[in-house]
């Protein structure tokens, strides 16, 4: 598809005007100097996001404009946010929560979520957001691995998803209910009452750049979810990547549509917009094309960061709802979560007069690593070029490590040179899995990609069996484990099936134990069983029965073979196949 060229005036007003010049001049020390820090080298994300702006006279500026489900608007200034997060930090302290303790959050996009995130960081405790569409098992697994001490949630989510098993988690001492209205369920506390009794002043913890700040869970092919550890120093990258890759300017109205339960919704739905002192829009409701266009118009959104699934849904709806809408304030549109298909980039250009700028990063990288920029020509379908300060390469396996591939358009592992501030510092308590990510001086992303002769990167696929649905990684093992708990299930394999709307949908192949026969009712029973445990975001959408699943000699189910057959692709090397599918 044809390259979309940028005009000179677009480059002139962009933060990153000339890619090569900016890249050559960039240093991480320079990026650090954009922030305050504390005397003696300390750094705290919440100070950079809130208090620093209040001190410099921006207290009355709207930091968060929250749009409730009923479309009422509620503004929170930087001064409001400072006071509320101070009260939250004081409340945690009054409960004996200390630096390094883990504070988990299970909430929809309500103001308390943002207060909890930043208040936790002020105390020096570790914030871990969870997606509210998770079912009880993903929640319990994450809180168990992360040794949650505190959970901030709503009464409904607590009763439905947590109350049944909370006693099983030894570390979990406090559950704070955001909407208790003076009547918190037994064994929980009323957060509003607790915060009301504390001071609006708090001295932010003098955290160091390498102190743990955030815990974000992600999924691998095997084993339990992995808790990627991020530190306060990551804010240097959150801040500067927002300027470069999202082109955030101080007067911007910015809308990141991602939920903070996923890393995008935290790095760019909380931290980066606030450190850049823009006004950010938070919409409580789920995707709705007409509503989204109303918000873009009414709030005069300048910069919009969304995801391929949403863009494809908008394409499907068509231009109808846009008729008569004035979106002239829109200046820059970006997309992340999975590769954005070229048609969607071009559709954006035709419909909004500007392309969607795809970018690439992961939970582990903490911030945007490769991007299309406001000033740079866009090749539809490409993820763009590495950010200033980031060295990316395509590597191939050698006998004992990897080496970089020099030739253009050769498929290899997308890899990064370690050392940027928002790189994960560990998978919590999983040193071996963490160490496996680093080979021959490269961080190996697990994504396959190519680089063209102009230095643009192109996504090819995943190098493992992880499923990517609506931009979210789903570990097949987590889904398989939940299905295996059902008394009728003998064996199960879970794969992703390509879907033009959400990228991939989760499909489970199930072989039944003797005495059970495939039926529509049993299919629905298994689906319900999986949904109850995993929630709609993780549970399979489709279940198919098989008499036997293809296995290797060692009994390992060959997901790859199931997938190849499902898609009508070549079966590849099946020399290890011992027991075939029936």
């Amino acid at each position: 598809m044809e390259t979309i060229h940028k005009r000179l005036d677009q480059a002139d007003r962009a933060n990153l005007g000339d890619y090569e010049a900016e890249r050559a001049a960039f240093t991480w020390d320079g990026a650090r100097a954009l922030l305050d820090g504390f005397p003696g080298g300390g750094l705290n994300i919440a100070h950079e996001a809130i208090d620093r702006h209040v001190a410099s006279g921006l207290g009355d500026k709207v930091a968060i404009r929250w749009i409730a489900k009923d479309e009422s608007r509620h503004d929170f200034t930087f001064a409001d946010l400072r006071a509320r997060t101070n009260r939250f930090a004081n409340a945690l302290q009054s409960l004996g929560v200390r630096k390094g303790d883990r504070v988990f959050c299970l909430l929809g996009r309500v103001p308390d979520l943002y207060v909890a995130a930043l208040g936790t960081l002020k105390l020096g405790a570790v914030f871990c957001p969870m997606f509210s569409a998770f079912g009880p098992e993903p929640i319990k697994a994450r809180m168990s691995i992360g040794e949650a001490k505190v959970l901030v949630t709503s009464e409904a989510l607590y009763r439905r998803k947590v109350a049944g098993w909370r006693a099983e988690l030894a570390h979990l001492t406090e559950i704070l209910i955001v909407d208790a209205n003076g009547a918190a369920p037994e064994g929980t506390r009323d957060l509003a009452a607790l915060m009301g009794a504390t001071s609006a002043e708090f001295e932010i913890a003098r955290t160091q750049p390498e102190d743990m700040a955030l815990l974000h869970f992600t999924s691998g092919t095997t084993g339990r979810p992995k808790g990627a550890v991020h530190v306060h120093g990551a804010v240097v990258a959150h801040n500067v990547t927002g300027r470069y890759a999202l082109d955030l300017h101080p007067d911007d109205i910015f809308w990141c549509t991602a939920d903070p339960g996923w890393v995008t919704g935290t790095s760019y739905g909380i931290i980066s917009p606030l450190t850049n002192a823009v006004t950010m829009i938070v919409d409580e409701a789920e995707f709705d094309a007409e509503r989204w266009y109303r918000i873009l118009e009414a709030e005069k959104v300048n910069v919009w960061y969304t995801a391929p699934t949403a863009i494809r849904m908008l394409m499907k709806v068509g231009a109808g709802p846009l008729a008569g809408k004035d979106l002239s304030h829109l200046r820059f549109m970006a997309s992340v979560g999975e590769p954005l298909n070229p048609e969607a980039v071009v559709w954006g250009n035709q419909t909004f007069g500007m392309p969607f700028h795809d970018n690439w990063w992961q939970t582990e990288t903490g911030g945007i690593m490769i991007a299309n920029y406001a000033s740079m020509d866009v090749k539809p379908g490409s993820m763009g070029k590495p950010l200033p300060g980031i060295v990316a390469g395509i590597v191939e396996k050698t006998g004992d490590g990897v080496r970089e591939v020099g030739r253009p358009m050769v498929i290899g592992q997308l890899a990064l040179r370690p050392g940027w501030p928002s790189m994960m510092r560990a998978y919590l308590n999983e040193a071996e899995r963490y160490n496996k990510c680093f080979v021959s001086g490269w961080y190996i992303s697990g994504d396959l990609a190519m680089r063209d002769q102009d230095g643009y990167f192109w996504f090819v696929g995943r190098d493992d069996d992880v499923i990517k649905s609506a931009g979210h990684l789903i570990g097949p093992f987590e889904v398989e484990s939940a299905l295996m708990e059902h008394p009728a299930v003998a064996e199960v394999a879970v794969i992703g099936i390509p879907d033009e709307m959400v990228g991939e949908v989760v499909k489970a192949f199930v072989a039944l134990k003797p005495g059970f026969e495939p039926s529509d009712d049993l299919n629905l029973e298994l689906l319900g069983h999986a949904r109850k445990r995993l929630g709609p975001a993780v549970a399979p959408k489709v279940i198919a029965f098989r008499q036997n699943l293809p296995k290797t000699r060692s009994g390992k189910i060959m997901r790859r073979l199931l997938k190849a057959r499902e898609l009508g692709l070549p079966e590849g090397d099946i020399s290890t196949l011992e027991s075939d599918e029936k």
């Binding site: 489900k69 569409a133 409904a156 789920e286 995707f287 709705d288 094309a289 007409e290 699934t309 849904m313 499907k316 709806v317 109808g320 709802p321 609506a470 709307m501 959400v502 949908v505 629905l524 029973e525 689906l527 319900g528 069983h529 949904r531 109850k532 929630g535 709609p536 975001a537 959408k541």
Partner: protein, 81 residues
């Protein structure tokens, strides 16, 4: 189509998507997506299934009529041939 038929169609299609939720126990005026714990994709699948089953075109601007279970039943009765 009468109320009973609309109810049956909606309940059966919802059961195919969220078999873990008992229709009898939900709040008919509550947020449909929350009551049945369904995501955006489930919601699209529901609308598509109802369209196929009942032959009623359900254009995107009408999706807000499905905000609640009660609202969806009323919509189906209104639009049925």
């Amino acid at each position: 189509m009468n109320t009973q038929q609309a109810e049956t169609a909606l309940a059966e299609e919802l059961r195919r998507i969220a078999p873990d939720v008992d229709v009898a126990g939900i709040d008919r005026d509550g947020d449909l997506r929350e009551e049945f714990d369904i995501d955006s994709m489930d919601f699209l699948n529901l609308v598509t299934a109802l369209n196929k089953r009942l032959g009623i075109p359900i254009p995107e601007p009408d999706y807000s009529r499905f905000d609640t279970y009660g609202g969806a039943v009323a919509y189906l009765i209104e639009k049925a041939p």
